[in-house]
Amino acid sequence: MTFIDDILNYDSLSIVGLQKNTGKTVSLNYVLDRLPIDRKRIAVTSIGIDGETTDQVTRTQKPEIYLRQGMYFGTSEMHYRQKRIVSELIDVSDENTSLGRVVTAKALTGGKILLSGPSSASGLKRWMKDMHRVGLDLVIIDGALSRLSLASPAVSQSMILATGAAYSTNMTTLVNQTAFIVELINIPLTSEEQLKLLMPIEKGVWFVDSNGALHEIKTVSSLSQEIHFEGMDDCKTLYVAGALVDGFLEKVRKNPKLKTTELVVRDFTKIFVTPQQYRLFLKLGGKIRVLQKSKLIAVTVNPTSPLGVVLDSDTLCAKLTEAIHLPVYDLMKEQCN
């Protein structure tokens, strides 16, 4: 399968499910099983609890995470004590989770493991940095639940998105919603120059004039209903460091002065607009860019919903492929074949 090779081009990968039971763990195991561990040193961890044998919320059967000999993993003290493999501890961190500190170890035999890594984005970033520092090539994050923000491009370079009938059992809705998320993930980066300028700014609404000078728009919150774009006749770029919502996008669209303005957000996880508003914005000539971007490597689908509805796998894959122009895989089916 070609997308395994794609993964090797990046030093971090997050596997994210749009919903519980969209087959994220299947995707993770699939990837772990196929990565060339003789060539790459790989570490894997999870955000929060994962790898439990039954789903904590829906009580449905969940596959366990299977590590291969030589892989590194980060998990909580509690899960480390329950491990079913032989492994060598290499670090006990100060990072606390509800299940104890995060420990890091190397698998000396293959086997099943419960993963429960750092529970905050900053903790995760620290852990990943440590892993890269001790010479690991690829860090894989199992983004538990649908917490997209923790798999944000701020954390990982590449991404696999798991979607499926658990997200919606209506195939059209499922395809459209997934396609919309994919579209957001694929928003291009802004110019190199603006990246440098805007990256350090983590809050507020700002604009860049045609001379490249940066101005903060103090009276504006991107969430407020009262948005005035005064004194902004020369606005080349409008940057929203926080959340981008419908109201703001609409104001930008309707303001004739901002007709040719490039709208910049930090990354796709900061966009909270409806597909309708978003598409309208683009259709009327709007331009949107991001500061950070993950490479979406593949989309995987689980056509079975936890309530028993099964969508036709081939149709689903075909429709999604058509909508997103990216390979789509039903990994359960791949494995059966």
Binding site: E77, R81, R84, V86, L89, V92, V103, T109, G110, G111
Partner: protein
């Protein structure tokens, strides 16, 4: 009383503590649990150690210090594990890892200390044997699992496991039993190291602390104090690091203050905004820093050891306790008086007591306090605006305005008469004219120039460049 109990003192102790570049979270907790030193010998010894670290910093280059600091970041709080070991419990993999990790760190740092002649300053128990026990293959790596070489049978089972993944579950169960036996053995061998491990952990924290204190002395320009033999504290060019930093940010300089006080009560008077409160804050801070073995913010200092430090600053309304500012203050000072009657050496630093009540009773209360708070175990330093009878007190006054700028220097005066500059200062602050004029009329003072006899140099209300906000420097 521990550092933890004193750290929130309004004197700014937390500021100095937070400026320490401590490498390990454990060192921080360990320091907060440190009791305040109460004997000259203890304090002298701690400064002796610190002095060796300061010398050490002078001898080695920054990258070397950074390496040691980086190593010390690996210091973890494993008291629970050590306690388990002391209770002869069987340690699990994570605990054994922690023990090995600490032992490797301790041996590494001990070697470095020895190379630089610091092994006498802070003694680290030798934990080489612990490493040998937990590193059967001699890999010298800070990682751990129940190694194959602990048991031939275990080794064979694991080989089998790798060859036959389908039998893994059964083999794991067999391994688990053997592993547990190995851990029991290892724990038994380690029991006798519980104490040395605990000592090593503390020694590493002590090194972390001394390195941080030594670096801080350089950064903040602190000095080594001497220990006073006559209950008198002497400060030459003392400053308050936090106020100094705040002023520096506004491009202004802190004017250092020189001051001596002993068992005779010391009264500080002076104009408003004359830095009296800052003097008290600094004295309190220095006393704490001294008794916790930090460098002292002064050019030189000779400090008397105390059993307890009292810093009473006004404006402490205690809403939770339902006390007014006056009541809260009275309670605080009451505690000082009570402590003074016990046989403990105390220093009481009291800022404008009874300022919130009427001047008649206020003056009486303050005068009485000077009489009550004395004895061969009490050092009292007090600021006030009240004219009180200075019965055998040591009186100091802030020099006040000279050529339009505040001179924060303290000068000895014979009596406790307070300067009457409030109206002029208020006027220069641009306070409502009518208010000030009316006050003058009430005082029946000539309108244009009013100077108290004791401050005839400085301030004229008109025609003099005046700097009430201390734009040119200021210790407010």
């Amino acid at each position: 009383m521990q550092l933890r109990d004193h750290i929130e003192s309004p004197c700014g102790l937390r500021y100095v503590f937070e400026q320490l570049e401590l490498q390990a979270g454990y060192t921080r907790r360990w320091m907060l649990d440190m009791p305040m030193m109460r004997t000259g010998e203890e304090i002298a010894q701690s400064y002796e150690v610190l002095r060796q670290f300061v010398d050490f910093l002078g001898r080695v280059d920054t990258p070397y210090i950074n390496t040691i600091q980086f190593r010390l970041q690996g210091l973890k709080d494993i008291r629970t594990t050590i306690k388990n070991l002391g209770h002869q419990a069987v340690l699990d993999d994570i605990e054994l890892f922690e023990v090995k990790h600490l032992a490797i760190l301790a041996v590494d740092v001990a070697d470095r200390m020895k190379t630089h002649g610091l092994d006498q300053a802070v003694e680290i128990p030798d934990l080489n044997e612990v490493i040998t026990i937990l590193d059967p293959d001699g890999l010298k790596m800070a990682s751990f699992y129940v190694y194959d070489s602990y048991c031939q049978e275990l080794k064979e089972l694991r080989i089998q496991m790798r060859q036959h993944p389908d039998q893994q579950e059964d083999l794991l169960a067999e391994c688990a039993e053997i592993e547990e036996g190995v851990r029991r053995d290892l724990s038994k061998q380690l029991y006798r190291f519980a104490k040395p491990l605990e000592e090593a952990q503390m020694a590493l924290a002590r090194i972390d602390m001394n390195l941080a204190k030594a670096l801080q002395m350089k950064q903040l320009g602190l000095c080594f104090p001497t220990i006073s033999k006559d209950d008198t504290s002497r400060y030459e060019a003392m400053f308050h690091p936090q106020v100094k930093d705040a002023l520096a940010q506004r491009k202004r300089a802190f004017q250092p203050v020189t001051l001596t006080y002993g068992l005779k009560p010391t009264l500080i008077t002076g104009a408003n905004m004359g830095g009296k409160t800052v003097v008290l804050k600094t004295l309190t801070l220095c006393q704490y820093l001294f008794q916790y073995g930090f460098g002292i913010p002064a050019q030189s200092a000779d400090i008397a050891v105390k059993d307890e430090v009292f810093f009473c600053i006004g404006d402490e309304q205690s809403i939770e306790k339902g006390l007014s500012s006056f009541a809260a203050e009275m309670k605080n000072i009451d505690a000082v008086i009570k402590a003074s009657r016990e046989n403990r050496k105390i220093v009481a630093l009291i800022d404008e007591p009874a300022r919130t009540t009427n001047p008649t009773e206020g003056t009486a209360l303050v005068s009485a306090l000077v009489k009550v708070l004395r004895g061969d175990n009490v050092s009292l330093v007090m600021t006030t605006h009240y004219d009180i009878e200075p019965t055998d007190a040591h009186c100091l006054r802030v020099k006040g305005f000279e050529n339009g700028t505040m001179n924060y220097e303290l000068v000895e005066v014979q009596d406790g008469e307070v300067p009457h500059e409030a109206l002029n200062i208020a006027e220069s602050l641009g306070i409502d004219k009518e208010w000030i004029e009316t006050a003058r009329e009430i005082l029946n003072i000539p309108n244009s120039v009013y100077l108290t006899p004791s401050n005839s140099r400085g301030l004229k209300s008109k025609g003099v460049e005046f700097d009430p906000l201390g734009e040119k420097g200021g210790n407010e």
